[in-house]
Amino acid sequence: MTGPGSRDLGRLHPLEGAQASKIAAFCDRCGGDLTAADLTAADLTGADPHSACRSARALEPPRFCPYCRRRMKVQVLPAGWRAVCTEHGERSS
C-alpha cells in the first residue's frame, strides 16, 4: 500500500481531527494550526489554509505530529511509511 492509510489524520477534515478525543491541533504536512479560531477565520474568507497540504499528502508521508507539532522521524519504505513522534508514538500507512 503506498497511499495514506486510515490512521492518517492528515486526510481528515481538520474539524473532525479537532473534535476527536485526542485533539489533532496541527496540520501534519506543514505543522500549521488547525484550531477552531483559524478555521472560523478560514470559513469567513472562504479559504482553507491547508487544502493544498491535504492534496499534497496523497503523495507524501506526514511530517509533523498532529497533536504537538513536533517534527516526526519519518521513514519511507517502497510500500509504506512510518512516522514517530517522541511524545505521541508511531503512526504508519
Binding site: 500500500m1 503506498t2 497511499g3 495514506p4 504536512r29 506543514c30 505543522g31 496523497a58 503523495l59 507524501e60 508521508p61 511530517r63 509533523f64 517534527r71 516526526m72 522521524k73 519519518v74 521513514q75 519511507v76 519504505l77 517502497p78 510500500a79 509504506g80 511509511w81
Partner: protein, 335 residues
C-alpha cells in the same frame, strides 16, 4: 519544403534510429523546441529507437533511503539537506527494515533494489551498515543490489565492487554550466570524478538528474549530451517536485508537454541506455502522461515510494506495462 521540425526528426531518425548513435547537442535542442503538433511524432520516433536498441522489456526498480535527511550538502531541490528549513528529520533505517524494503520491492517483480543515503559521501558507519544490509538482503531476497551513497573514494569503490554492488547511482543532476546555480557545496566535476571511478571499476553506472530546476532548454540539451558522453548504463529522469523549505520550494512544475519533449530528446541522445522514470513523474505527468512517456522512450520505472515522497501504486504501474504489452525484465536476464 520540409518544416524545421520535419528536418529535426529526420536527422534524429537517420542517426538515433538507424545507427543507434545519440544526437548531437543542436539536434537534441531542436527536439526540445519542437512545437506541440510535432510532439506525438517525436515520442513515436523515440519509442522506435527504444524498441530497436533496447527492446520491449521494462526494468523495474525499488529504492529505499537507508539514511534520510541531515545531509551537509545544499542541492537546492533536496528536502534532505540539513542546511534548509525542510521538515525532513535525519533518521537511519535498521537492517530488518532494509530487508523488508527489499522484500517489498522483489514482490513487485522488480530486479533492482537501490540503497540510498543522504550524504556527501559514505563514512565508516554507513559502509558498515551497507555491508551488514547487503549480507542480510542476500540471505533472504533474490534481487540485484545497487547503491547511491554520494561521492566515493577509490577504496570505497573497491569495497562496493567486493560487496557485489552491481550498479552505482550518482546523478550529475543538471548541465555542467547550470550546476553552480543549484549546488554550491561541491562541483559537477567532483561528481564526475566519482562516476569515472565507478565506470573504471566495472560496476554499472547509473547517472541522471532532475529537470525543472530553472535550467534553459539549451542547458537541458547540454545535459543530455554530457550524460551521453559518460555513456551510463542507466539514466534516471526526475522532474522537480518542489519541496517545502528548500530554495526551490516555490518553483513551478515542469509543463507536461515539456517533460514529454525531454523524454523523447533524452532517448534520442541516449538510444541504448536504460531510461528510467524516477521522482516527480506522478505530479508532473499524471496517469496519462506516464503512459505517453512509456510509449515515448522510457524503458524503466521506479515502482512504489521514493526516498521522502510517495509514488503511485506498483500494481497500477504493472497493470499499465501489461496493458502496453511491455514485459518486465526478469532477474535471469540481468545476470
Amino acid at each position: 519544403m520540409p518544416s524545421l521540425s520535419d528536418s529535426a526528426l529526420a536527422t534524429a531518425a537517420a542517426r538515433a534510429l538507424e545507427t543507434g548513435t545519440g544526437l548531437a547537442e543542436p539536434d537534441v535542442l531542436a527536439v526540445l523546441r519542437l512545437p506541440d503538433e510535432e510532439l506525438p511524432a517525436a515520442l513515436e520516433l523515440a519509442h522506435q529507437v527504444r524498441m530497436r536498441w533496447c527492446g520491449p522489456e521494462v526494468e523495474v526498480e525499488g529504492i529505499v533511503s537507508v539514511k534520510t535527511g541531515g545531509c551537509p550538502e545544499d542541492c537546492h531541490f533536496c528536502s534532505q539537506s540539513g542546511l534548509f528549513t525542510s521538515p525532513v528529520r535525519a533518521v537511519w533505517l535498521d537492517i530488518p527494515a532494509l530487508v523488508e524494503a527489499a522484500r517489498q520491492t522483489a514482490a513487485t517483480g522488480a530486479t533492482e533494489f537501490c540503497i540510498v543515503a543522504a550524504v556527501r559521501g559514505p563514512d565508516a558507519r554507513l559502509m558498515a551498515q551497507l555491508r551488514d544490509g547487503v549480507a542480510a538482503i542476500r540471505a533472504e531476497v533474490d534481487i540485484n543490489i545497487a547503491a547511491s551513497l554520494g561521492m566515493l573514494t577509490r577504496a570505497q569503490v573497491d569495497e562496493l565492487v567486493a560487496l557485489g554492488i552491481h550498479r552505482y547511482n550518482h546523478n550529475l543532476e543538471t548541465a555542467r554550466s547550470f550546476f553552480p546555480q543549484v549546488v554550491t557545496t561541491h562541483t559537477w566535476d567532483e561528481r564526475f570524478d566519482t562516476l569515472r571511478m565507478v565506470r573504471d571499476s566495472g560496476m554499472e553506472v547509473c547517472c541522471g538528474g532532475i529537470l525543472g530546476l530553472g535550467e534553459s532548454l539549451e542547458q537541458r540539451a547540454e545535459f543530455a549530451v554530457q550524460l551521453a558522453a559518460l555513456a551510463p548504463d542507466e539514466v534516471p529522469l526526475n522532474f522537480l517536485n518542489p519541496r517545502p523549505g528548500t530554495p526551490l520550494g516555490e518553483a513551478a512544475l515542469v509543463d507536461p508537454r515539456d517533460a514529454l519533449r525531454a523524454i523523447a530528446a533524452f532517448r534520442l541522445a541516449l538510444p541504448r541506455t536504460i531510461l528510467r522514470y524516477a521522482g516527480g513523474r506522478e505530479i508532473t505527468l499524471g496517469d496519462l502522461g506516464t503512459r505517453d512517456g512509456l510509449l515515448g522512450g522510457i524503458n524503466a520505472v521506479i515502482v512504489g515510494n521514493y526516498l521522502t515522497t510517495l509514488g503511485r501504486s506498483p500494481a497500477d504501474d504493472l497493470a499499465l506495462l501489461d496493458d502496453l504489452k511491455m514485459p518486465v525484465k526478469a532477474l535471469s536476464a540481468t545476470l
